[in-house]
């Protein structure tokens, strides 16, 4: 930008403009030196705190109608501070369109909950309708989010098909359908026969065993269809790797449980020692109180450990697996999110959010985003400058985005 733009220099890149779209030229540029695109997050907790407070107030006093504007502002802040190879991401969603989506989805959610409190049959019908629509909502939510996200002026796309969404998500409903079928087959649902409990256990166990596979199915659908100009990603992580991560998480959970037992045991020991040392009378009473308080604190801490330990483990390992194995022939992501750093941050966040009655939350959100995003980097053999989009992707349906919020879909980073 600093060099004087002589006509000759300016003409050179212009002339080479269309070259990378030619297959042979693409192959040639693949062989070129790798480009490394680090991710840097420049957001600040105190600034997001200010944005968050003002957004929250406006959302509250408008009875929620301001929410889409608040969401766009939040996403623009987080996207705009995510620099990929020194170029920021950006979010373009139109709050007015999103508001229409929220009102539509809100009305549907209200109908759904009202149906549930009216009668069980109405609730069941509403559940089946939502389940049948869910995959379509997932697809349009992904489409909206990516089509409204840009980098270097190019919009992302989500190329997944509707059929793919159903194929990826319908297996998730199999356990529910089995239960409904079993209930229908029963002569009197109020007095379930003996076999039902065995059946119930078998289905639950099967679901737990199949969970990693189902999640893999869903992630495969998502990560196979992210696209930017010529780039389209593919998930090359195997089902086996997913099972590995979940098994290890189970191990960590068990370890956390053992840790809790150990702490409780130590607490009981301390209690015994205090009682023995205290002798009798007053001092014995205070000793017992101190020991009881210690045991209580230890139990609370232990419970927190069990609650908190496995989650960051799963998050870090799954992010590394998912993004480390996402890419294509000329593009790959790397993710090196450390478990211990994420655990430390999570503990700190929980503690401070609890101590500040929630006011620390924006700081926690920024710190978590920084840790998770900066753990990722991108390597590509295609010069990013050579990315070229034939046509601008469609904006996508805003209702899908609202539904995605409601049902908790996310891109996962």
């Amino acid at each position: 930008m600093t060099s004087p733009a002589t006509p000759g220099e300016a003409a050179l890149p212009r002339a080479g403009f269309d070259v990378p779209t030619h297959p042979l030229a693409l192959a040639r540029s693949d062989a070129a030196a790798a480009h490394r695109l680090p991710i840097r997050f420049t957001g600040s907790g105190s600034e997001y705190f200010r944005i968050w407070i003002v957004n929250l107030l406006l959302t509250l006093v408008t009875l929620g109608l301001y929410y889409p504007w608040a969401k766009v502002r939040r996403l623009r802040y987080f996207h705009g501070n995510t620099l990929v190879g020194e170029h920021p991401l950006d979010f373009h969603g139109d709050p007015k369109k999103m508001l229409r989506g929220y009102l539509l989805v809100g009305a549907m959610a209200a109908l759904y909950s009202v149906a549930g409190s009216f009668s069980a049959v109405a609730g069941l019908i509403a559940f089946v309708i939502v389940a049948a629509l869910w995959p379509a909502l997932l697809k349009s939510s992904m489409q909206f989010r990516l089509a409204n996200t840009s980098w270097r002026g190019l919009r992302f796309r989500f190329k997944g098909s509707l059929r793919g969404a159903y194929a990826a998500m319908l297996p998730l409903f199999v356990p529910g359908l089995l239960f409904v079928a079993a209930l229908a087959a029963m002569p009197d649902p109020e007095k379930p026969p003996q076999w039902f409990f065995a059946f119930f256990l078998a289905v639950m166990l099967g679901t737990v065993l199949l969970m990693p596979w189902l999640l893999w199915n869903l992630k495969k659908y998502q990560h196979d269809h992210y696209a930017l100009a010529q780039w389209q990603t593919q998930l090359r992580a195997t089902r086996g790797a997913f099972y590995g991560v979940f098994l290890k998480t189970l191990g960590v959970s068990l370890l956390a449980g053992l840790l809790l037992l150990g702490i409780v045991f130590l607490g009981a020991m301390a209690f015994g020692v205090a009682a023995a040392l205290g002798g009798g009378g007053e001092s014995r009473g205070t000793g017992a109180v101190v020991a009881a308080l210690f045991a209580l604190a230890a139990a609370a801490f232990g419970l927190l450990v069990v609650q908190l330990l496995p989650r960051p483990y799963l998050t870090s390992r799954l992010q590394n697996l998912l993004w480390g194995r996402t890419g294509n022939r000329s593009l790959r992501f790397r993710s090196t999110l450390g478990f211990r750093r994420l655990l430390g941050l999570t503990l700190k966040n929980w503690l401070l959010v609890a101590l500040t009655l929630g006011l620390y939350w924006p700081f926690a959100a920024v710190a978590t985003a920084r840790l998770r995003l900066e753990a990722v980097s991108i390597e590509t053999r295609t010069d990013p400058e050579a990315l070229f989009d034939e046509a601008r992707p469609a904006d996508g349906e805003a209702a899908g985005d609202a539904a995605g919020d409601l049902l908790g879909f996310d891109i996962g980073l």
């Binding site: 930008m1 733009a5 300016a10 890149p13 212009r14 403009f17 420049t42 957001g43 600040s44 600034e47 705190f49 200010r50 944005i51 407070i53 003002v54 929250l56 107030l57 406006l58 959302t59 509250l60 006093v61 929620g64 929410y67 502002r73 623009r76 802040y77 705009g80 501070n81 620099l83 170029h87 920021p88 950006d90 373009h92 909950s113 409190s117 009216f118 009668s119 840009s150 980098w151 270097r152 002026g153 190019l154 919009r155 109020e190 100009a229 959010v353 929630g358 939350w361 926690a364 959100a365 990013p384 400058e385 050579a386 990315l387 070229f388 989009d389 034939e390 601008r392």
Partner: protein, 371 residues
């Protein structure tokens, strides 16, 4: 046309330090290619001028999606056709925008000043308090007023069927005693001014949950044999208890609770739901308990009204609370009376309890009994 005029000379008075930057260097992306084109930006005559190698655009200022001022991050502006302008020097961009006569929205100004943020925080706390104190109760009253009574009837019927199946057995009270209690309560209700007593039906049951009386949304009031036995069948005490339940029916507390739970859950998830849905449940639960206690107080007032109209001293309710307290102590085992002001008496217990402390309610009925 105006586009070529007055570039660089406008709004010179705006900047305090030095002449305002009339032009700004930025990167232009056309929305098709990831390659940036260096351009010069100019704001003049309501138009944004973008000039660079092979780029010459004039866009109405109102058609551009401008970035908001933030302390961190770059500046990206979007043109209507998908092209965008990027500027890494945020300070220069902001100065250039100001010089161009751009006015920031009040929201951005509030976000970027700590004074605005503290004002927002104070307003937020006030808004939450007002919402809890008046907003949610008023909204629930309005929503419930819109819900037809037939919905109450459906919900009440379902609830009664489920309660009968799992918790209750048919009453073993003699029919004559049932009739006497029914008549006593009917006489008390009949003393109310016309139109103030809701439709109700009194049902007798034998319970698995000890002495109790409760109202369902459809106007069913269920009285357990155990409660009748607890007060030795005293008609006046039972009339007081039933009048309290009638208050729940009259104010449609059951339906209002449903709406309030939903509203509180929505507000709580708005404020802390991003962080943890588990955490969002805590304020919702506490708020719900608070509303429940308010509903109990409202029904206690209703009980006093009915009792006074019927010429019965509200002191009969004190008898009831003493008996039920004794029963609770007996249930708790040999711990003695200390248990009574245990969990339900302490402030922490009150915060999560659905009923006010017995002591407070006894005081209320004693005060009401004074002439």
């Amino acid at each position: 046309m105006p586009r070529a005029t007055c570039s660089g000379s406008t709004l010179a008075s705006d900047a305090a330090a030095g002449p305002p930057p009339a032009t700004l260097a930025a990167d232009y992306f056309d929305g098709r290619s990831a390659r940036a084109t260096p351009v010069t930006l100019r704001l003049a005559g309501g138009l944004l001028q973008v000039d660079g190698e092979g780029v010459s655009r004039r866009e109405p200022v109102g058609a551009v999606q401008w970035p908001e001022r933030t302390r961190h991050g770059l500046r990206v502006a979007h043109l209507a056709d998908g092209a965008s302008l990027h500027c890494a020097d945020a300070l220069a961009w902001d100065r250039w925008m100001r010089a161009g006569g751009h006015r920031e929205s009040a929201v951005v100004r509030a976000q970027q000043s700590w004074r605005g943020v503290i004002a927002a925080l104070v307003l937020l706390v006030l808004a939450l308090a007002a919402l809890y104190e008046w907003g949610v109760p008023a909204a629930s009253r309005a929503v419930v007023a819109l819900v037809p009574r037939s919905v109450d009837a459906v919900i009440g019927r379902e609830a009664l069927a489920s309660i009968d199946q799992h918790l209750m057995k048919p009453s073993r009270l003699p029919a004559a005693q049932q009739e006497r209690l029914r008549a006593a309560f009917g006489r008390a209700v009949a003393t109310l001014p016309a139109g103030e007593a809701p439709a109700y039906q009194l049902l007798f049951r034998s319970s698995g949950i000890g002495p109790n009386a409760f109202a369902l949304p459809d106007g069913s009031i269920i009285l357990t044999d155990e409660l009748v036995a607890l007060v030795d069948g005293d008609e006046q005490v039972i009339t007081g208890v039933l009048a309290h339940e009638l208050g729940h029916v009259r104010h449609r507390h059951g339906m209002r609770m449903l709406v309030q739970v939903t509203a509180l859950g929505a507000v709580a998830s708005l404020v802390v739901g991003d962080f943890s849905t588990l955490l969002a449940g805590v304020p919702a639960l506490l708020g719900q308990a608070g509303y429940s206690r308010d509903a109990e107080r409202e029904s206690d007032r209703e009980a006093v009204r009915v009792l006074k109209a019927a010429g019965i001293s509200p002191r009969v309710m004190v008898t009831f609370f003493e008996r039920i307290g004794q029963w609770r102590d007996d249930e708790a085992g040999g711990d003695g009376p200390s248990k009574r002001d245990g969990p339900s008496g302490s402030a922490l217990g009150i915060a999560i309890s659905s009923h006010p402390a017995d002591a407070e309610r006894i005081r209320f009925f004693e005060d009401a009994a004074r002439p």
